[in-house]
Symmetry: C2
Subunit: 719 residues, 2 copies
Amino acid sequence: MNLYKLTEKVFKYSFGKPINTEAVLTKGEKVKEEPLRYFNIDSTEGMSFNYKMTKDQIVWGLGENLRGMNKRGGIYESFCSDDPRHTPDKKSLYSAHNFLVVDGEETFGVFIDYPGKVVFDVGFSEENSLVIAIEEKDVDVYIITGEKPLEIVREFLNIIGESYAPPKWAFGYQQSRWSYPNEEAVREVGDKFIENSIPCDAIYLDIDYMERFKDFTIDETAFPHFKTFTKEMKDKGFRLIPIIDAGVKIEKDYDVYEEGLEKNYFCSDAEGKPFVAAVWPGRCHFPDFLNPQVRTWFGLKYKVLTDLGIEGFWNDMNEPALFYTDRGLKDAINLAKASENRNLDIYSFFKLNDTFNNMTNSLEDYKSFYHNINGEKINHYKVHNLYGYNMTRAAGEGLSLIDSNKRFLLFSRASYIGMHRYGGIWTGDNHSWWEHLLLNIKMMPSLNMCGFLYVGADTGGFGGNVNHELITRWTQFSIFTPLFRNHAAMGTRKQEPYSFEESTINLLRSAIELRYALIPYIYSEYMKSLKNKDMYFKPLSFEYPDDFSKRVENQLLLGDSLMITPVYEENSLGRYVYLPEDMVLWKVKNYQERTYEIVKAGHHYIDVDLNEVPIFIRTDKAFVLGKHSKNVESLNNEELNVIAFVENEATYVCYDDDGATKDYKVGKHEEIIIHIKKFKDDEFTIEIESKGNTKVKTLNFEIINTDGRVHSKTLSIKP
Amino acid sequence: MNLYKLTEKVFKYSFGKPINTEAVLTKGEKVKEEPLRYFNIDSTEGMSFNYKMTKDQIVWGLGENLRGMNKRGGIYESFCSDDPRHTPDKKSLYSAHNFLVVDGEETFGVFIDYPGKVVFDVGFSEENSLVIAIEEKDVDVYIITGEKPLEIVREFLNIIGESYAPPKWAFGYQQSRWSYPNEEAVREVGDKFIENSIPCDAIYLDIDYMERFKDFTIDETAFPHFKTFTKEMKDKGFRLIPIIDAGVKIEKDYDVYEEGLEKNYFCSDAEGKPFVAAVWPGRCHFPDFLNPQVRTWFGLKYKVLTDLGIEGFWNDMNEPALFYTDRGLKDAINLAKASENRNLDIYSFFKLNDTFNNMTNSLEDYKSFYHNINGEKINHYKVHNLYGYNMTRAAGEGLSLIDSNKRFLLFSRASYIGMHRYGGIWTGDNHSWWEHLLLNIKMMPSLNMCGFLYVGADTGGFGGNVNHELITRWTQFSIFTPLFRNHAAMGTRKQEPYSFEESTINLLRSAIELRYALIPYIYSEYMKSLKNKDMYFKPLSFEYPDDFSKRVENQLLLGDSLMITPVYEENSLGRYVYLPEDMVLWKVKNYQERTYEIVKAGHHYIDVDLNEVPIFIRTDKAFVLGKHSKNVESLNNEELNVIAFVENEATYVCYDDDGATKDYKVGKHEEIIIHIKKFKDDEFTIEIESKGNTKVKTLNFEIINTDGRVHSKTLSIKP
């Protein structure tokens, strides 16, 4: 074992010969070996790390995962999985985020940097045992110390590198469906948004835009003039976002296939032949994204679409999902033939059925192909969790080569920590279940802990049929998530906002308008989180020290100033909320009408009608609110409202930048620093400091005093 | 259409020639025809009944079903289904309970007495439309009027006949698993309960006790001396409860098969040959339970087991579940063969997979066999929902012939309203999901509304693996359900109380001890509900008129005196509760130590540690509490505690009977009527009226005054 010191608070314990995942950027210096802190190690088979928890310790983290923010009570397997039914008994989703923070009498963070399967038994088998197990003996274990969870998270965010920043337009509302089949259908979607005056920035192209599901091709019959159509839609205010899948169709004369074959860029099977498995295009090969040359090659393929005016992509099927292999299908068919004309006993029948059911994403298939890592042939199973990460890294790196300073929209289904530097993620194929709205809420801070800031779920649910109430409550939550997309599966009820009854359309429109009005705040908080290595969504207890806050899993702190309390239960007239301190409640029906109510610290039931979005303003905090428009580019925020709840003094730093380039990385941005101070019972001083502000000319202040009275004032900013 | 008046408040609208389901016993008199009340009828295809709801109306009912107590927002299909994954998108469970109550500006009840598939769209497709649809034009629609939901429910319970009463021992704790394979295993279960001093009354025998899954047989190698073993276990205090399945194995010389064949007692296929489908025993025939002679024949078969000392049964697989038919298997295998050596496009692959997945419980199979109803050949699909009902009716009728005055334990998986007269139900193959604990809570009052009083869920969850916290919180709820059984599937984590860590065993023991101490109250309330046509579990709003009570779906009124507020969320330190009036909170750690706290009307967060069971006593109500013992028969309740919260006066009627015979039907029972009256600030008068009481000698009163002080007094009862 080798020990490395990365910072005063971060140490890496390196066991055996770990594969370098490049999740962590900080190298650190080798120091004198010491035994692993906090954990006992059992090496009888593979390695397992055991920590004895006290009854009251909380375990945060694990990023994209099931169950609560507090992971206690469950078993989780980091093994990127394409399983579309996210029921509570599932152990894996699409991503592998092996970072967690133990919080209590003893508080620390641990990141298991291991690219294969990792099992986390967080007090499931034994009430007070945390057991982390891997199947080999090569692993980097990072231990992060600190007083408080947030401090530990920020140390972690420091060593894994700055998160991805999408273009500003990607903070607008986005509409998707599997699939809008052709130009006419996509055009109609755009027109409906315009007709119904519902703001929208992007419309998605799911797998059917391609020619026989071939990456970087366009179905010419469905989209005969793709380039002009892309321009037509952009002129109307909508970007088109095509999907890119991991598997490359085996088809003669298909350039990606031919080149990959010729250059030996595909994963290989035991005999060294390109590995074959079927996904959407039928039988496919799989680019070996763990090879940098392959990444460059595949990444530059995105130019086919950027040349047609495309500015954003979603990478899918990159766990990778494998519908079946020839072997699996052959075995199943042979068993079926052998079962013919037999009076099957019932267990043979189940075996037959299971053989067909288990053909998809089978471990046997994952263990049957190989990567080439610096000339070494590595079995896929050992590095499974790096595949989606490196596919999206390929895209990110490729897009930088295509246009080095441009921000593209890019997010992925599968990921590993490290991928957060190249793109965001959506939480995969959820369902139109109220349980999945709650899961969405709980997952957001966990993802932020792992570096993933540009995140969101399929609003309304991908699988199944949504009803008017669920789409409304879900949209009223998603207006706060950086990635705000409504997506639904083939065969499900139409889920675009305009597809519902008039009363519901109106509710969805006003929620989406609120989103656009909040973009000055949302974008400011997003970019500050990114630059300051902070979280955009936090659990209450990351800011409030009281014990009860630690147990609140259905309220979130949003940026520096706000707390949100979404309604996630059917047929309810409101919900219970917990306030760790006095706050101001703004129930938003229409963001242009604002009435405020002071709610005292403690437990409350608040009425929340279906037409209301509750927003809480924390004590001595302020936020900015603009005006909505049809899309992000057309927002006019020369005039901003500054809404503050001031007991003593509140400061807000309003960040902005060009929203289009990477100049923010070299410090090019604008800041307005607003400072409000109470100097008498109901008199306030306001200081405004402009650091390069060019856009905002006027600030309308609404300062809520502790007595509930609102003090209004308008100030203009000199450039 | 013919109109019948059953009571002042119940009318039957009879369309076409409905099949008589015998759900309703009251015949009623024919009266002058009037149009159907409340609903518009659309007869374009089949029949659909449409009612326009107001925004605030609540829809209660539908018995065993998914989602909330308030059914608004969902689509439900009454079509008894064996589907083991109860996710929120499912439309059917195992039973068909077509009764609902619309509650609001306009309040009424409706029962759709139709034995085939009924679809209820309760504001799913259109926010304010309730649409009930059937595929034919023959149906009895019962409309029940009344001021309040409870009044309507009681009218309904009146016309469907008195609910089933199990023997008193069936209110004890019951342990099950699929399967305890042999005598040794069952003996060990019993011994473990004794060793760990955990009370228990029954141990279950799942399918593996049979010889090749043949009903009314016993595997002689696993249970070589079944009769003496049954006696041995009963002497130790445990009854054995075997499972009976619907399908009869096709096996030469198997008497049930041979007799059924000879007497022509099995459902037939289109050609009139006995219908064949495979379930656990492999290929089976299915008794035609809709034929009274078949019921008598099959019902008397239970004597095989009663002669061996068995006193209780659970009827399973009686939707009926059909794993596959020769046709289905042949089609699937042929498709598999046709797919061989083809480069399947992906949709052909899915079709192949689906063909295997959809082989089980296929509509095509349900439409391919027939019943003989009074000589008429009726397709099963038309009467599907009567099958499990009549299997359990066969058992109930048979057991009455075997021992006319004895109460047997009997419950079923599938049911239809009417079956409540013959047995109870358990809620089927749930999972070890917190969501299913909540579902369990919400389902209980809906089942009571439909006549099913002897109900409960598989405590801890049937499928999946439970953890220490879920088994504890779930058990702490199930102690209040009449059927209190812990059951788990093959391959899942051991779920018997003694299988957990010591700390958990202790929590489960004290919860189960509380159950036994509560049996005097639970049994009294159960039997009064049965005799008075009342509900044992009620939603809050069935007793409290305020609007908020209507929205409370996670608290239940238990009998006349108590409110329960189970904790159903993981890692929580307590929960929010709503009190429509002041109540007394008893947090039970150990039922022998009692401290009381007055909680004011309104919303509260209450701490509920994992070792606590919260019980609320309503204002001016009393209940009785005894002492636990190793099982029900050994309970000694000569001395009872009467615990009351008295503002003005409280009356409690404590019912009891022999708990073993049906003499209660001819009025043989005992009552102690307890009346407590406050006549000064802190002085109370107590009146005790004994109606035939022979068992109770002493009553220890704990009267909680509105100031929280407890007044204790002991009184003896003269016989």
